[in-house]
Symmetry: C2
Subunit: 205 residues, 2 copies
DNA sequence: AGCATAATGGCATCGAGTGCCAAAATGGAA
DNA sequence: TTCCATTTTGGCACTCGATGCCATTATGCT
């Protein structure tokens, strides 16, 4: 279970000290297994650490909290979304751009879908995670707000881009909940439809 | 600091056992004082209990968690919102109704405003409370979704009313954050403007 | 005075999270 | 090979939120 020494980065000076005995991804897999069998709340950090063959203290060097385990490498994914926004044609209407990017950001390979569903079931249904996730959503909103602000010639902190980002997040969450409740449907279709409703002001007249 | 015996409900059979030694409201006031001086995180439940002259164990009979203290009597307020929705003229366009009710729901007497601001500063700025508040927001959304569903001839769980509720919540939160950052402005004006943006699809064309 | 009722608060326990630090592992240099 | 610098590990102690258990206290009724 030790990392392969040949994994070293080519450019980097060869590493010095002791090698990490596991990885975030590996811990995530172990943890998800336990969550699936015992449930999230009933799984203690000790359980995860023991199952992964590390000390409890070490677990907290890989993840800030037990909650964070379920979020995987979300921060890196956000970079992708930011990049997708940057690539939007300047003449594309704001809400069209938001819709297409959000839909795109939530596209997954068919073989990743079951895993993603399990992740989202935890995030959206376990109260402790529902709560904690709010903090992650802030980063997501910021990416949307940055883009909206740029397009509207405002600053990120301004009311309109912030409200837009908040509303877009809400729409996406509603779409996700629907997706969890209706396994037959396509996530991207649901998000697309919901973002259209949002852009249409939910039929306001 | 003992409740007045003459506080008894007229219709109720006279109470039997020992009288409560404090009240949620009183605890809330004590707690807010401590939060203001030491900060939320640095204030322990022991601090609050001691300051209120009760045992730590008793505190948890008045509030499920330390987080819950800041929410006061939110559940009862929600009943008011539900009622306001029920009173909306049937011919009033959906998003107009949502806007006016949400604006109305967030109107406060001028003398309540400073207290409300302190409450919302905690809720929106302390990470632990930001996270925990998500759970409270669910109840708020449900009220909006119920109304939207009724108006749209759908069920509460359906995608559109849920998305609408989520988006309305988002808009309201953005408005609140703006209000906290701009003490000079009127909360109801900010919310009204933000809800109009939402109903207008943020200028989608 | 005695009884039923209701709130209190101490005690023990669990689990998340953190600071501290000695021990283990590893590559490079003498 | 030996020693050193570096990095990770994991045990220990501690804080704090939260919960179950239960004897104690206060209160009104009979």
């Amino acid at each position: 279970m030790t990392a392969n020494p040949s994994d070293r980065q080519p450019g980097a000076t060869t590493r010095r000290g002791r090698r990490p005995s596991t990885s975030p991804l590996q811990l995530e897999e172990v943890a998800f297994g336990l969550f699936a069998s015992k449930g999230f709340e009933a799984t203690t950090v000790d359980d995860i650490a023991t199952a992964a063959g590390i000390g409890r203290r070490t677990f907290f060097r890989y993840f800030e909290s037990k909650n964070d385990v379920v979020w995987g490498s979300f921060a890196e994914h956000l970079d992708y979304m930011r990049q997708r926004f940057a690539e939007c044609p300047p003449d594309q209407p704001l809400m069209d751009a938001v819709r297409t990017v959000v839909v795109d950001f939530n596209r997954f390979d068919p073989d990743e879908v079951p895993w993603h569903r399990r992740r989202m079931e935890l995030i959206l249904r376990v109260p402790a995670l529902q709560a904690h996730s709010t903090l992650r959503y802030a980063a997501w909103r910021e990416v949307v707000a940055e883009f909206a602000a740029r397009r509207l010639g405002m600053s990120v902190g301004d009311l309109v881009p912030q409200a837009l980002a908040y509303a877009a997040l809400g729409a996406a969450l509603a779409a996700y909940e629907h997706w969890l409740a209706h396994p037959g449907e396509q996530l991207s279709d649901i998000i697309d439809s919901t973002m259209r409703d949002l852009a249409g002001g939910f039929g306001a007249r």
